[in-house]
Subunit: 449 residues, 2 copies
Amino acid sequence: MSLDDSGYSGTLLEKLSLLKIKIGDTIKITQGGTEYTGVLMPRSQIGADSAHIVIKLKSGYNIGIRLDEDAILHHIQTTKRNHRKSSSPEVERANLQKVSILSTGGTIASKVDYQTGAVNPALTAQDLYDTVPELQNYANIQAKVIMSILSENIRPTDWTKIAQKVVSEIKTGSDGVVVAHGTDTLGFTAAALSFALQNLPVPVILVGSQRSSDRPSSDSAMNLIGAVNLAAKADVAEVLILMHAETSDSFLYAHRGTRVRKLHTSRRDAFQSVNDYPLFRIESDTIDELHTPLLRRDKDRKIALKTKFEEKVALLKTYPGIEPLLIEHLIDSGYRGLIIEGTGLGHTPDCIQSSIKRAIDSGIVVAMTSQCLFGRTDMNVYRSGVELLEIGVISCEDMLPETALVKLMWALANTKDPEDAKNLLLQPLVGEIDLRSEESEYVPRTGRF
Amino acid sequence: MSLDDSGYSGTLLEKLSLLKIKIGDTIKITQGGTEYTGVLMPRSQIGADSAHIVIKLKSGYNIGIRLDEDAILHHIQTTKRNHRKSSSPEVERANLQKVSILSTGGTIASKVDYQTGAVNPALTAQDLYDTVPELQNYANIQAKVIMSILSENIRPTDWTKIAQKVVSEIKTGSDGVVVAHGTDTLGFTAAALSFALQNLPVPVILVGSQRSSDRPSSDSAMNLIGAVNLAAKADVAEVLILMHAETSDSFLYAHRGTRVRKLHTSRRDAFQSVNDYPLFRIESDTIDELHTPLLRRDKDRKIALKTKFEEKVALLKTYPGIEPLLIEHLIDSGYRGLIIEGTGLGHTPDCIQSSIKRAIDSGIVVAMTSQCLFGRTDMNVYRSGVELLEIGVISCEDMLPETALVKLMWALANTKDPEDAKNLLLQPLVGEIDLRSEESEYVPRTGRF
């Protein structure tokens, strides 16, 4: 990344230019008797004055320092220049695995747009790599930008594209693939890749960040390093999401791609496994396996590749006062599938039951999940549930509503007969559903209680 | 409740009839040298043989005992008969507060339908009272069945009816009102009563149960006793939900009615405060206040009564692949409000933005919440959010999507100008929104980690 585009200005920018320091260089600054050593980071311009510098410490944590005139003019020096000419290290190290990083956009690949003040997905793979030079200690990296989309705009056709790009990397010898992606719909994409790329030979690690890399307290470097480490070394061949496990930089969790949800709008530990436990705990360079069985690495295993998704599938959350008109409109618009996020054990108001019946009679696959999030649907307990089962609604057990939506999109696109899609929906394929898990295991606990 | 309808059969039913034992009586059974004393409970017939008896122990816990022939014929005796002729104790005790119990249906007022095997809301107020005779130690009780509806079928018009019934009880001198309600939509109704009955003089405690009272491990008696205790004694005048705090019968939590969600399909501790802490902890008879400020009791305070709700308000959860057609159809169907459950900090796919704009231009109030559940919307961070704010979408901050839906239904029904409704939406009225809470405070932690 060039300095002009990095958010620095005034005397500080002039001095950095004069010293030929670039983003990604390791620098040492002395001010007030304290010495700071770290990697120079791009800087958010919002609310910061021109004397403010951001460096990433060895701990992985970004700090912002307000420099005085004397420090700017006399006490900045380069200790290591980290620029590479291509997005991969010039020399491949024979003892390291090959890891591909595919960037799709999102905060982890974002920087602040200095005109609007909003964050845009704009870092190149080179930028990504330049700002986290430690990556080269974990693997021989191939970094590519495959799209540049804020994840709220990712569509099912993008899942197909990402899946195909992942396969290309695996076919050309990657020992693991990291997909950098926005966090908003990271769970949906992880579920999509889980179904599209079954029978994987190597791991596919999706990673995001909750704070962009030009902000102090960014989690992007630590998450990216953890993802590359996991992709290179962990004995697993599943689709996982790797993010902070706590709000501090203490350790990371890798969650199964079909069992994870963004459960906080802003915290760095927003991602939580739901109805499952995280599969790995990563602290510094140590990878601990938490949960078996896992699909293990096997480079000879052949991927079962089915990358299509049917877009005519809707997710509908029920609520008191819901009217039949939304379901009626989906039927009339040629929809092929409907995931209901009902209440409790899998119930809907009686007033929409006849529309649900009409949907099923029209050949639409209708399946039930719960807005409770934790636990499983059980439609045999109350009358409302029993009646829905009788008209042909499928109970999705302990599957997340998002995962059920993605799975139904996938099942309808990859089968000819809707009956086959229905059967696929309840068949455990990649850990997305467990017909036996106990209610005692998973429960959210809020806050400090 | 008559014995015929209580689920007992065969020799056991004959013996109970002979001894004139009814549901709610305290009985003593001796078998194999062990003595069991407890209140006779109705019994689920599903999967149980005719020698199976259910009693509620003094601890509040139900146990099922399989009796041998000898025990049935010779070792059952009544130690206390608990029948009352009316739904209130015959003698009012002067030192106790007056508490009204209004039953609306749901599991807490349910029993198993022995024909279909499903659970139906069928207990009368008398049944409810008979099976929990300890209630008379906490308050002078007035119990009434005001409706008998599984909570998935509760509509906004029912909220109005419940609110009016609660007011009647308060006007005739209740020191606190308990509303027994199904758990599926308990959170919605609690939010509705919170807005409809502002400026309360006494507390309104909503209570449900996750297991019907004819099942061993029912939580209904303990929850009901806790609710009556809280209604009679706690120095609060807000709408609260009281449920188990843990899966064991250890203690209860009372949550603020606008800040609570059913977060598990089946666990007894399914209800969790979201973006807030529980307000009270109840262990045995001890009520601990956890969180201030609270609106305190004041019998002279006059209720601000606004019980109407506009039904033409929808809740829409976004997902990858969502099409504009659902929003377009809501506009064409005369809707007046729309709560979007967007992703992350409050985003939607760009492809539905022009429909959202058309909705707002048509006079529909559109407001944003997050499907992350925890945290708050902040639409100033990313481009998608900024653009939605510019076209007039309201950011609901840390309000629950369900609470925002109910509040918008209420605001639109009780104002003439949609602008007033918009202003009301973001105005903190009953603790439903906090413009200053910090992200560090609330986060869900899953399972045993």
